[in-house]
Symmetry: C2
Subunit: 238 residues, 2 copies
């Protein structure tokens, strides 16, 4: 494996504390895949064959209903791995993984991961840390869906994503509005209404870009919360 | 520790594959707590000091908003442990744990768990299995909330809970209706309307009891799904 690849993998918490030999062994039979936009990496219900590590691009994890409808459960950005729980439990994926743009993923064979896991206690500890974080992300997701209005969800998303940008700077939404609506658990029409509602409370949208005109007002209205959102220190200042 | 206690702990997947010595060591400094109904075991935002193992009774895990509103994220029944991810990552609880009835819990000091974890690879593997299951439960929860109508959520809950009971048998709801509504992500009024809607589709409610008059009709309407619900083999028969 190239040293550039190893440097990239070291950015992933999962691999940070693994010794060089453990990382080399784990990725020995890994393959890299380059995919176009809108390609399915796997479908829900399929047996997990690989641990997927996202190196470049973007992936959405979709939950599907039996009637074919789909919802975005999570958006994955590099460098991150998905979906560890299915691989570890060797049970069918509960979500479909679809690329958002041209994407590069590293596929680590699930059997290799499980075998090395049985022999390398350090790997088990790093996997526990990663899985704990992924579990907590899902709990935050549920609290966000069940405790907040659509306007509040959108406002907290904007504060979390763009709270670091200076007031008045125009920034691009990282995903299109249809996907954002699904991610936040609302229809595109509700998302439009929520953007309208925020216009006089510190955030305006133009096409695919957003300007936080008054971040403090937005925070006051939407009440971002460390136990739901993942806040940067600056976001917590009121 | 009494042999009855050890037998109880063996029912928990987490402890099934641990050798006697590992289990004895892990529970060496554990204490048992008997609590009345409506007691908080811990509050969200607090630092985790113990892994909680529910031996008897029932516990609800609640997510709270900054304005004080709460929602039921999960209901825990014996024997099960909660909330492993906070204990392992040593980060503040994202949920509050409150008893639903007189409850008996075993408290395993978090520091002991983490220490034994670093020394006992077998424990790490059992924790990974438990945490994978807990992660997957949360994904199912999100899919249920985002992909289904209130009527469909209630119908699938009834099939999952009572699908094994013979058609026409009256069974008691395991939680009161206010808590059930919160658990299913709806208001008590919406829950009432959903019960009314199901009357002509295979399920009737009287007070705190339910009768599945026509389980096949209920399944046909609500479409329970193995990748959202946790189905028994009988539930899957159409």
């Amino acid at each position: 494996m190239s040293s550039a690849r190893i440097t990239a993998l070291r950015r992933l918490e999962l691999f940070q504390s693994l010794p060089e030999s453990g990382l080399a062994r784990l990725t020995r039979n890994a393959v890299t895949l380059n995919l176009p936009r809108a390609a399915d990496l796997f479908g829900q219900g399929e047996e997990p064959e690989f641990l997927h590590v996202l190196l470049e691009g973007g992936v959405q994890l979709l939950g599907g209903a039996s009637d074919g409808r789909e919802t975005v459960v999570e958006v994955v950005r590099p460098v991150d791995c998905f979906i560890l729980a299915a691989v570890l439990s060797n049970e069918p994926y509960l979500m479909t993984a679809r690329t958002l743009e041209p994407t590069r993923v590293l596929l680590i064979p699930a059997t290799e991961l499980r075998q090395q896991l049985a022999e390398d206690p350090q790997l088990a500890l790093t996997l526990l840390a990663t899985l704990s974080k992924q579990y907590r992300d899902m709990v935050r997701n549920i609290k966000n869906l069940k405790l907040r209005s659509a306007v509040q969800r959108l406002g907290c998303y904007l504060v979390t994503e763009f709270g670091d940008a200076a007031a008045g700077t125009e920034v691009r939404l990282p995903v299109d509005k249809k996907l954002l609506a699904s991610h936040l658990g609302m229809t595109p029409e509700t998302l439009s209404r929520a953007f309208n509602a925020l216009r006089s409370h510190g955030a305006t949208v133009h096409g695919g870009s957003v300007t936080l005109t008054d971040p403090a007002a937005l925070r006051a209205l939407c009440q971002p919360d460390n136990l739901i959102d993942i806040l940067h220190p600056a976001d917590e200042a009121q």
